[in-house]
Symmetry: C2
Subunit: 335 residues, 2 copies
């Protein structure tokens, strides 16, 4: 990069001191109107741009937040990021983005990087692999405000914001039952993720509340389009196949739909399906997918808003909030 123009250059050319220039640039009332004008004009001519790095160092504040997400290439996360970026933009905050790629190792490295980069706060959604939390704990020891979204953990000094996974799952499964399903399968993610636990519980509760026994054999470890393609066939060909499936995300549901259509299982007559996410693709497919809208954009907006509050609070002894966004059942053609 070219040698940058500094306040000092302006001061020298104008025969002023740096402090005068600094003040003139920010319209300090002490400085004469004439000087102010002269300074600004020259700043303009020289193409002066304040150096935020210097400011950051001086103020121990970077106006930057760190963001760790599992994978940006996942519609739900990108809508959350959209919400985060929106609020950041409106508040003159910058977003340093990292992907964990579902790797624990990488997530640990990311938190280190954020700490050395002195971000003012961190927004994170943990990877599927993550069990140990000391890397996040460390962040709290530095008193860096931390807000988890979607895939959260609860035993840290950190706020959390999630879609109410229990309610969402409960609503989805209840809806399937009301539509007449008797044998409802669950396609879900690894057990230790908070969100899958909650959805699992919502599934269970909806069943028992409606007098249907919970059957662990109807729970399948499957949470991607590809996996759904792989395992659905054998499941849907069984003589005692399920008449309803609740999938932990839309991609998985779409995989099931694809296979069902291929082997001639009629949707929604023979098989009803509810997804989770309300991804764009859930309306683009055929039949359109009944699903749970998680309001990703809203989650992002609120997570960032809350983080800013924490950053601007005068001390770190706040009581972490656990916010829950009530998701919404979107009834379409698969039920």
């Amino acid at each position: 990069m070219k040698k940058q123009v500094t306040i000092k250059d302006i001061a020298q050319q104008l025969g002023l001191s740096v402090s005068t220039v600094s003040r003139a640039l920010k319209d300090h009332p002490d400085i004469s109107v004439k000087t102010r004008a002269a300074v600004k004009q020259l700043a303009n001519i020289l193409g002066y741009k304040p150096n935020r790095i210097a400011l950051n160092l001086k103020n121990s504040k970077t106006n930057t937040i760190g963001l760790i997400i599992p994978m940006i290439e996942h519609n739900f996360f990108s809508s959350v990021v959209n919400g985060i970026e929106e609020v950041a933009y409106n508040n003159d905050y910058y977003v340093m983005m990292f992907q964990s790629n579902e790797s624990y190792m990488r997530e640990v490295l990311n938190t280190q990087t954020l700490a050395t980069n002195r971000v003012d706060g961190v927004l994170a959604s943990i990877s599927k692999e993550t069990k140990d939390l000391s890397h996040f704990k460390q962040l709290t020891e530095y008193e860096i405000p931390l807000v988890f979204f979607d895939r959260v953990v609860e035993d840290l000094h950190a706020d959390t914001i999630v879609s109410d996974d229990f309610e969402g799952a409960y609503a989805a499964v209840t809806h399937l039952i009301e539509r007449g399903c008797k044998k409802i399968a669950l396609f879900t993610s690894p057990r230790h993720l908070n969100i899958s636990q909650k959805r699992h519980e919502g599934y269970k509760k909806a069943l028992t509340d409606h007098g249907i026994d919970y059957d662990p054999d109807l729970v399948y470890a499957c949470d991607t389009f590809e996996d759904a393609i792989k395992i659905s066939k054998s499941i849907l060909k069984k003589i005692d196949k399920p008449d309803g499936i609740f999938a932990v995300n839309d991609a998985t549901a779409l995989g099931i739909i694809k296979i069902a259509k291929k082997i001639g299982v009629k949707i929604p007559e023979e098989l009803k399906i509810v997804g989770y996410e309300n991804a764009k693709s859930s309306q683009m497919c055929e039949p359109e997918l009944t699903t749970i809208d998680q309001f990703g954009f809203e989650i992002g907006r609120r997570a960032m808003t809350l983080l800013l509050e924490r950053i601007n609070a005068d001390n770190y002894n706040y009581k972490p909030k656990n916010i829950t966004i009530t998701p919404k059942l979107i009834i379409r053609e698969t039920t």
Copy 2:
């Protein structure tokens, strides 16, 4: 944030000078093994984390690149971002992410922010609104390396990397012709975007090369799922409706499919469709969409790799490259 532990704290507690501590921390051979060990141990106990901001200021280098994209919530862009982040991660670079949200104003502000934040380089894809380029020009005046991807401009000192839009469109339309289409419509974006121009030209050339006259009446301004839903009906109900459509992106193509199915136009018998992007949803839908894979991840990877080269070059007088990634026709069920 808590008062951070600095090199000075370590120096004081150990009765050493800051320079010794600094050197010890980076295993400088001058420092005795004993001192090194003592320093590192204490650093560990105190939870010392080097302050990159100080380094950045000292070195006039931030190891950060700025990224400006139209909208993250667009599958193609998020896959590009994924590629960018991958390379950044592997090279210890950080990504500061901004969305223009297709707003020229916002894009201008974003470039300003990047300049004051002294990013080492910028990766950008311009907004649909952008016509004037002085904000990017300014970046080049500061000699901040600049690489455009996907939606590029050519008259700046900046590298560009695009999917070969002309070839992609040519391949798509040729494929439609080979499948027997005689009357092929184009659904595309605003004319001034480089990519739509190129695809438009590819469309035209494929037609004329195969002895079909180019008819401007078959070109529709439509490049979103929603718009396609709106305008497709009237087009597909016409007595002399097209028998093939080339859509500028997959979402648009999916909108067309949806309407075609609704009003009973058979795909691919009566109407053949080719999209552009190879989004996840293009395989999830029914019938599966024939489309052009743009290799978004690869574009991101190469853009970031090239940017790093520029950043690490010893001078700014490089000759900008214009890289072209050859896209690939993915034949599925809509043709």
